[in-house]
């Protein structure tokens, strides 16, 4: 398949998605830019409500209308701007070239159709196969995602499956047409941890087999550390830091990322280590403060932070940070991990 330059398979440029509610304009996504490389796993992290899901839904143009609107931006895939496509062309991309799995498979599976039917359906939409071929392909898919005895389970209904098995079915449907990009929005949040491990291993394995790319959205910093190559940290609708996974964990340069890292409990930590969480709460997305959105919670804030929003700057190769003081962190003038 044709690629855009530099191995980039997807490029999101200055995306802005707003919701027009009775209380005012919710700037759910407000200036998100990133690129996705072929074969990589990109993690998007940030607290509830920071715009992770809306970013994903915007890429597939699944924003609920008319309340929501993509007001600005470009989503370049395969040399085309997805935001400029007509409905028909868009259909061809959705599910076929880019597909998505959600946190709760029950909301995307139809309870009245058998699992087999639904997998077949996802094949039929995009390909011209005979009925027999479709069935064979579907069985192969179910087997690939680790459904035991797929022939027997073909005629089962979603409610007869466990949460983990349903998520496997969703993955089967998502990869049915060998998409180049799989977007997984909190794919394991509803699952128990041993099942989460199974699903994440499966996704990773399939990614390597098919040389596709994954965007994984999660609030679990352990999952990101294990599976992501690069990470975008979001806060209140904006990307605040974007780099490879090692930089994000070992050299975070945005006070929000630094705070996140000091908030997490980890299995290997020393006994009763004191966590150093960020105080306060994220702001409402309706009345964002002027200047840096993190200002009210930031203990490094200076006068300049009140004036304008700090642009996302590349402070070292492939390490983007939106903070006026990142350079000082970088040069070791400001202590990051002390308190």
């Amino acid at each position: 398949m044709a690629e855009t330059e530099n191995n980039k398979i997807l490029e999101v440029k200055d995306l802005r998605t707003y919701f027009y509610t009775d209380d005012g304009v919710v700037k759910a996504v407000d200036g998100v830019s990133f690129d996705l490389k072929k074969g990589e796993t990109l993690g998007i992290v940030g607290e509830t409500g920071c715009g992770k899901s809306v970013t994903a839904l915007s890429i597939l143009r699944l924003i609920p209308q008319p309340m929501g609107k993509i007001v600005e931006g470009k989503i370049i895939f395969d040399g085309k701007d997805l935001l400029k496509l007509g409905q028909k062309e868009l259909q061809n991309f959705r599910g076929n070239r880019i597909s998505m799995i959600f946190q709760d498979p029950m909301t995307s599976l139809n309870p009245v159709y058998t699992v087999g039917n639904q997998v077949m359906e996802s094949l039929v939409v995009h390909r011209k196969l005979s009925k027999e071929e479709t069935r064979r392909e579907s069985l192969k898919l179910l087997e690939m995602v680790g459904i035991p005895e797929p022939k027997r389970r073909f005629a089962s209904y979603p409610h007869e499956f466990s949460g983990g098995m349903r998520q496997r079915v969703m993955i089967a449907m998502a990869i049915a047409n060998s998409p180049s990009v799989l977007i997984a929005d909190e794919p394991t949040t509803a699952l128990d941890v041993t099942i989460q491990a199974q699903i994440l291993e499966l996704m990773d394995e399939l990614k390597h087999k098919t040389n596709s790319s994954i965007i994984i959205i999660t609030h679990d910093l352990g999952v990101v550390a294990k599976y992501a190559n690069r990470v975008m940290v979001m806060y209140a609708g904006k990307p605040v830091e974007f780099s490879d996974v090692d930089n994000i964990y070992y050299k975070p340069m945005h006070p929000y990322t630094i705070g996140l890292m000091k908030s997490i409990t980890r299995l290997d930590e020393e006994k009763k280590k004191l966590l150093k969480p960020i105080e306060g709460l994220p702001p409402s997305l309706i009345d964002l403060p002027k200047g840096c959105i993190f200002r009210i919670r930031c203990k490094y804030a200076i006068d300049q932070c009140k004036k304008e929003y700090p642009p996302l700057v590349e402070i070292e190769k492939d390490h983007h940070v939106s903070c006026y003081r990142a350079k000082e962190f970088m040069d070791g003038i400001l202590e990051r991990f002390g308190n």
Partner: protein
């Protein structure tokens, strides 16, 4: 038994009867939600109960609080068996045993001000005059990190983390000795989660509290607990202090559980060996015979499907490291 034990649970069982059909109400088997578990909590320590959804953690707390009757066993609090108490005696003891839940919103009445919510336990137990109660509420609001001036606000005006603080204040006004925390931070984002965990740690020191800390997230449980019990399908599979549980787990399920939890450290994750437990947790209605873990256990032998392993001590010190496995300590 040592005499610094505040709560001892002995052979606790709770079976829920299942009935089929709306009208027929025929007996259709039972769920062994808690099936013969024993553990103790020392004064001032935190005992963690961890395990996947449905393994029986919440039921343990509910039975201890006598919100549901036990099927068997004892819960000895301060040398008395809670299950033998009259309801008046139980009422008295409930002052000393308080609880906080996962979803603070569901457990707070939406039409009451937070002042009324927090003072209600004092009212029920007829403590202090109304004026003094309000003074105490304000004091506890600031102890849990809320603004005492917000005493007349309603729960919906607070964020999830703040609501959990309200729940904590309500549990603390009676100055209890034992606090049962059932998934207190599971619904919260990491930074808020950390705020609440720090609060619970501080309060434990300040008020000399003993915690039963229940959660499905082992890294959170390990962070707060001195000792941990690992549950699976209503049984305790392993009990150890948190360091030992992490560094030298004895039960294959604990090993799998530990391995399934990624550590937020990319370098470490690249090096770490991964054990992926296969299959789903079986239904508690008809759990596998013998060791209930055998269908998923990489170490399972013939005997495992025939006999049930006992929870036994494997440490030279009494009661220090227990596991229920015929091949405890064998690596996967």
């Amino acid at each position: 038994m040592e005499n610094n034990i505040l709560l001892e649970v002995k052979n606790l069982k709770k079976y829920f009867k299942l009935r089929s059909g709306f009208l027929s109400q025929r007996f259709a088997g039972s769920v062994k939600a808690v099936d013969d578990i024993s553990f103790f909590i020392r004064r001032g320590e935190t005992f963690g109960l961890v395990g996947e959804t449905g393994c029986g953690k919440t039921t343990v707390a509910r039975v201890i609080l006598r919100l549901v009757p036990q099927t068997g066993g004892e819960a000895i609090y301060n040398k008395v068996n809670i299950f033998k108490l009259t309801s008046r005696e139980m009422f008295k003891i409930r002052r000393e045993i308080q609880v906080i839940f996962q979803d603070p919103y569901a457990s707070l009445s939406p039409r009451m001000t937070i002042g009324d919510i927090i003072s209600e336990p004092m009212e029920i137990h007829k403590i202090d005059s109304k004026k003094n109660r309000m003074k105490k509420v304000k004091e506890f609001l600031s102890i849990v990190g809320l603004n005492p001036e917000h005493i007349n606000r309603y729960p919906h005006e607070f964020s999830g983390g703040q609501r959990q603080r309200i729940g904590v204040a309500r549990a603390l006004v009676l100055t209890p000795k034992l606090l049962l925390c059932d998934e207190p931070v599971s619904a919260l984002d990491v930074s808020v989660q950390a705020q609440i965990l720090n609060l619970l740690t501080d309060l434990q020191k300040e008020f000399n509290l003993t915690y039963l800390f229940i959660a499905h997230d082992l890294s959170v449980v390990k962070h707060v607990s001195d000792r941990i019990g690992v549950m699976y399908l209503g049984k305790l599979f392993e009990v150890a202090n948190s360091e030992d549980l992490y560094k030298k787990p004895l039960h294959p399920y604990t090993m799998g559980l530990l391995s399934a939890i990624p550590i937020p450290d990319p370098e470490m994750e690249r090096k770490r060996r991964r054990i992926v437990l296969e299959g789903d947790v079986p239904s508690p209605i008809d759990p596998p015979k013998g060791c209930s873990f055998h269908p998923r256990c990489p170490n399972a032998q013939d005997i495992c499907s025939r006999k049930e392993p006992e929870l036994k001590n494997y440490s030279k010190n009494e009661n220090e490291h227990l596991a229920a496995c015929f091949f405890a300590g064998k690596h996967i």
